[in-house]
Assembly symmetry: C2
Homo-oligomer: 386 residues x 2
């Protein structure tokens, strides 16, 4: 957008604000375009703040925040080059205050932080890109959940799901991380587009993906008018294990029956997979190990269980490894080499190895990020239900 | 949450930040609870900013922003009483910078501003409240749109839609306002819950609601890698009319055929309604008047067409009012008495009256707000397809 157009738009906006002063009213016009993907593959970020003293860009594609520069009409901007194509969370630091990009509708659904998302495309398109292939659909559902509450879940059905009413599908239960919501695997993980693209290329089997909300204890508090309980203070303390148990009960007793009643599913362990990221990875392992009759496919993204929890709660998994290895069609573990859970995950893999429990693993560059999660989803989706 | 618990949570958070310093990592734990609905019906808003100089609460339930007060650990808070039960957009002004509430996952999907949403409940529950009734589902779809682009749309199907494969439904096309997205009628308008509740009470006929994205010109720019075009400088200038035409072409030639192919719909004008808010109201009137063979029900929320546009483009509507009145099962216009479009809407109604075109109208207190939109949706949904 040219500077002249910016100024024009700003005038339109100013006039709009003045004439609509009586009621709060969004200004008209895209007076700031941000983020803007440029033809030379650089990306320009902009933020309107005529009276701010300092504006910085913070993003998971940067090692440290970048200074932005203010123009004569108060629009701060910075152009970043050499961003590896991917989808990244970012925000602005406006005089030290973290804000989402007001001009960008794409955001990271999370209960504790707010970030916008920038999608840096590649050519040929990345596996999570919107492409001209048959698309599945995303459905938001309510279901009867623990303690009489109403649970919320997001469900992906593959392309042409509605075309053949006799066809049944395997189901992948996919659980997001701490403070993420049931939307995060859709909005940030682009699970629907990854599946659409893999299915179009014949690289993944058509499947239903069920994305639950991971914290039913909070849902109970919310719906019963109580204060939301503080999160557990450790990843594998008694409180965390109890919460994971509540999730497991909800998944096995409420959500799976609901899904199998309302979708055309194949209802046996060979056609049920479970996977998750971070807290959802822990819930995946606990739920799968506690319900080996329910799941034959396990995908653990950036998470692990401690040796002590394995020894006290899941002895059955390691006591007769030949049984476990026979039962599990896939036991997959992925983690980033800069992930703060990397060390624990490697220890977990060493423990499994020592116990002769088979697993496949993928160590990627990077940290505890949704860039890595998308890679893991794309990798594992190709292995499931084969 | 007690102050002791706050401090404990803050310590947990601080430790978390420190130990995970290598990678950007969301802090654990709900160390700030906001908004908190108290048992005495007051609402407490909180924002953590130890180094901010001034934090204010801004919200559509307030006449002007309220000062917040900082406690010893840096959490700013204010408790507001006497908020009329409803769902309101709000934000914090942190040293003059507008931010969403980081502790609140509920937000207003919009391309130009960022606001959180607070849901102040009532007893008995309001018509948009999540209640223990059969629920419909919300589906996110892609469809082939103008100029080879991929359009996005959100679709509500009523409770038990999947139970009887022979049953067909009428369809309500519902269009959101300028800079809103296809998600706004779902996330802010709670159209799904309003319909669930009305259907459960027998007050609305089961229907499909189709919520398109209202700005296909922007979608073309986005998908063809061009800059997003500036919004039109007036509501009824040539540019605005051209954009409305593009929307109309997309709706009539692409979206309606897609919906009627993929859902069990009743495919005649008596079973198609169209409605919209603000820009979507203008698109509603233009699309309906230009396609009287397609729609028999019109719902115009907080919008109007100018007399000059009516005279130049839609003479057929007023020339033989007896035909129009016979064709339209409902022509409904709602507007708030403080809406900046109130005057124009009243002039539009006066014009229709003079031309002997029948309509029903509802003037509500308040402005150009989604509190009013929800009222209008609930009112009109009860009248449709009767």
């Amino acid at each position: 957008m040219s500077k002249k157009l910016f100024i024009l738009s700003l005038l339109v906006w100013a006039v709009g604000c003045f004439s609509h002063a009586v009621v709060a009213q969004p200004p008209r016009g895209p007076f700031v375009v941000s983020p803007q993907i440029n033809s030379d593959k650089t990306v320009t970020f902009r933020y309107l703040a005529p009276s701010a003293k300092e504006v910085k860009l913070s993003g998971q594609f940067l090692k440290s925040p970048m200074e932005m520069v203010k123009d004569s009409i108060g629009i701060w901007s910075v152009t970043v080059s050499n961003i590896k194509p991917d989808i990244y969370p970012y925000s602005f630091q406006v005089d030290g205050v973290t804000v989402m990009d007001p001009a960008n509708v794409s955001f990271f659904p999370n209960e504790r932080f707010k970030a916008s998302l920038v999608d840096v495309p590649d050519n040929p398109p990345l596996i999570h890109a919107l492409q001209n292939v048959p698309h599945g659909t995303i459905t938001y559902e309510y279901y009867p959940s623990v303690e009489g509450t109403t649970g919320s879940v997001v469900v992906y059905t593959p392309p042409n799901y509605d075309k053949d009413a006799s066809k049944k599908y395997p189901v992948f239960y996919l659980i997001s991380g701490t403070t993420d919501t049931e939307e995060t695997f859709f909005k940030v993980g682009r699970t629907n587009l990854i599946l659409d693209n893999l299915i179009a290329e014949g690289k993944a089997k058509p499947m239903i993906v069920v994305m639950p909300y991971g914290n039913p204890m909070a849902k109970i508090a919310e719906q019963k008018g109580r204060s939301k309980p503080a999160d557990p203070t450790s990843r594998d303390g008694a409180d965390a294990v109890n919460r994971a148990k509540l999730f497991e009960v909800d998944l096995v007793s409420n959500l799976i029956p609901y899904i199998e009643k309302n979708y055309r599913t194949l209802n046996n362990r060979e056609n049920r997979a479970i996977g998750g990221f971070s807290r959802g990875g822990g819930q995946t392992l606990r739920t799968a190990f506690g319900n080996m009759d329910k799941f034959a496919w396990i995908c653990c993204y950036s998470s692990y269980l401690s040796t002590s929890e394995m020894e006290s709660n899941f002895k059955s998994i390691t006591e007769k490894p030949e049984n476990t290895n026979k039962q599990l069609k896939l036991f997959w573990i992925g983690v980033g080499d800069e992930d703060f859970l990397y060390k624990g995950t490697v220890e977990f893999m060493d423990y499994l190895k020592a116990k002769k429990v088979n697993y496949k693993s993928l160590i990627t560059p990077g940290g505890h990020t949704w860039m890595n999660v998308k890679t893991y989803v794309a990798e594992t989706a190709q292995l499931l239900f084969r």
